[in-house]
């Protein structure tokens, strides 16, 4: 595996708090959003990200990172979230419930759907994917991993990754069928 030299990482290892704060500020929003895709709970997502950062800081001298810092952060978040899901199925179900309640809120808004709202809809559709399917899809989209890398990390075949991504897109398209045509028209209107 390729080792990525990282000045930020070296600085953190040596206890540079400013460097650490910069990394924190750079990735905090994105990581919370990533955690949210697993947990469907904002507070919990934030807690996981904060805990991951304090964990990294505490272990900074022993950090051995063989991927880029960004990949490492996403992996850390992913692993922590998967652990939480495993141990707290109940909480997860509750979160799903609140998500459904939220959904009702959007339904009535207006016929003109904004681009931001499509992202929310996609987020919701992503939540409804079967577990492995969602994991593979989020790893590909948020962590920007290649099929081979996903296969290696999850110890599944590349063929399975292909299959799960295809399945994810298919399910999400069906889920979003009511919104997509409107959105595409809207985009087309902007381009013309």
């Amino acid at each position: 595996m390729q080792v990525f030299p990282s000045q930020q990482l070296d600085a953190i290892r040596q206890g540079d708090e400013t460097a650490f704060e910069m990394v924190f500020r750079e990735y905090y929003q994105a990581l919370c959003r990533y955690a949210y895709t697993f947990l469907a709970d904002h507070d919990e997502a934030e807690e996981v990200v904060q805990a991951s950062f304090t964990g990294i800081w505490d272990k900074r001298t022993e950090l051995s990172i063989t991927v880029s810092l960004k990949s490492y952060l996403y992996q850390t978040i992913r692993n922590r979230c998967l652990n939480i899901i495993k141990h707290e199925k109940v909480k997860q179900e509750h979160a799903n419930h609140t998500l459904w309640v939220n959904k009702e809120g959007y339904e009535g808004t207006s016929s003109k759907i904004l681009a931001d709202e499509l992202e929310l809809k996609i987020g919701e559709a992503m939540q409804k994917l079967p577990e492995q399917c969602r994991l593979v899809f989020t790893m590909s989209r948020f962590e920007e991993l290649k099929y081979q890398e996903i296969a290696d990390q999850l110890q599944i075949s590349v063929k399975t990754v292909e299959n799960q991504i295809g399945k994810a897109l298919k399910i999400m398209r069906e889920e979003l069928s009511d919104y997509l045509p409107v959105i595409l028209l809207l985009f087309k209107g902007l381009l013309d």
Partner: protein, 324 residues
């Protein structure tokens, strides 16, 4: 749906992730061309794919508050391994030195960044060094000028014509997608829309080098057109299209060109469209225009071919009998 050796969702997924082989990409392209429904289906999956990574939750997380919490944790830990104050003082002094040095350095090699964008109209601009740039619609140019340095890097998205003043010895490099165009005192046009598979460079005067980070590429002289195929990663030389920079100067050269093509070329540039009757669409015309108004052009075409023209305010109509 036609018989594909593949599950279509998997294939599209692979394609969007840039994991397809050339043959698979070709299959997909064929499938998309089959009918509108297929194309629509593809675009829906593409939208989901592209948007998914930007998924926003309905709240913005409070980074400041979060950092306060994390910093508190860090500081608690730190009290246990507190550095001697003396050390901290030295460290602070050294940091100040470093920071001021860095700031000086930044000042010295300061990179100036400019952006020129054209949305629905053609934009003409002159850069600080005298290079004139004409940006076609839906194009953007990012410019990096290094103070004190001699290199200029221009990143192009879309289409633009560059007129480089000869006296300046500054090196100009245009980056278009994965290719680079290095000029040697010239006028040239670059067409690099992200959705198109080829990047085109047409040289009107002088000479340019057209290359990528790992390919030497080709040298183009005045009157030559270079093509780069993004899929095949290969260069080719082609005959230039006479009207390639028409948007920049409104100069058109037509030789035995059908009226339909003439009108298409004109309508791409002028706001006010020319409309022609089907009967005369195939009439051939040989004519040159230099920066004329659209009404004048219509009049000249009408006279040349013995047609009548009618200015309707928001369009110009050409009518007449079929040519033999």
């Amino acid at each position: 749906m036609s018989k594909l050796p593949y599950d279509i969702d998997e294939l599209i997924g692979k394609y969007l992730h840039a994991e397809t082989t050339l043959q698979e990409a070709e299959w997909l392209l064929q499938w998309r061309k089959e009918n509108e429904a297929n194309e629509k289906y593809f675009n829906q999956l593409k939208t989901i794919f592209e948007r998914a990574a930007q998924v926003k939750s309905d709240r913005v997380y409070n980074t400041d508050a979060a950092w306060q919490k994390v910093a508190q944790h860090i500081d608690q830990k730190k009290t246990r391994t507190l550095f001697p104050t003396q050390f901290l003082r030295y460290a602070a002094a050294i940091s100040v030195l470093f920071i001021s040095g860095w700031l000086l350095y930044q000042q010295f090699i300061k990179v100036e960044r400019l952006n020129v964008t054209a949305e629905n109209a053609i934009v003409k601009d002159t850069l600080p060094d005298g290079t004139t740039v004409v940006l076609n619609k839906q194009s953007a140019l990012a410019i990096e000028l290094k103070r004190g340095g001699s290199k200029k890097l221009l990143k192009l998205n879309g289409e633009a014509k560059f007129i480089v003043s000869n006296e300046k010895s500054d090196e100009l490099i245009v980056q278009a997608g994965e290719t680079f165009i290095k000029d040697i005192g010239t006028v040239f046009n670059v067409k690099a829309y992200p959705e198109q598979n080829t990047i085109e460079v047409t040289v009107l005067d002088g000479e340019v080098m057209f290359y990528t980070a790992d390919q030497k590429g080709i040298t183009l002289k005045a009157g030559m057109k270079g093509l780069y195929n993004k899929n095949l990663k290969s260069f080719a030389i082609d005959k230039p299209d006479t009207n390639v920079v028409a948007y920049a100067n409104r100069n058109f050269v037509f030789e035995e060109t059908s009226l339909a093509e003439v009108v298409q070329a004109l309508n791409a540039i002028y706001e006010k469209p020319i409309k022609v009757d089907d009967a005369i669409k195939n009439c051939k015309v040989t004519v040159t225009f230099e920066g004329e108004e659209i009404e004048t052009i219509a009049e000249i075409i009408a006279e040349t071919l013995g047609l009548t023209f009618e200015d309707k305010g928001d369009s110009v109509l050409l009518k007449g009998n079929a040519c033999q």
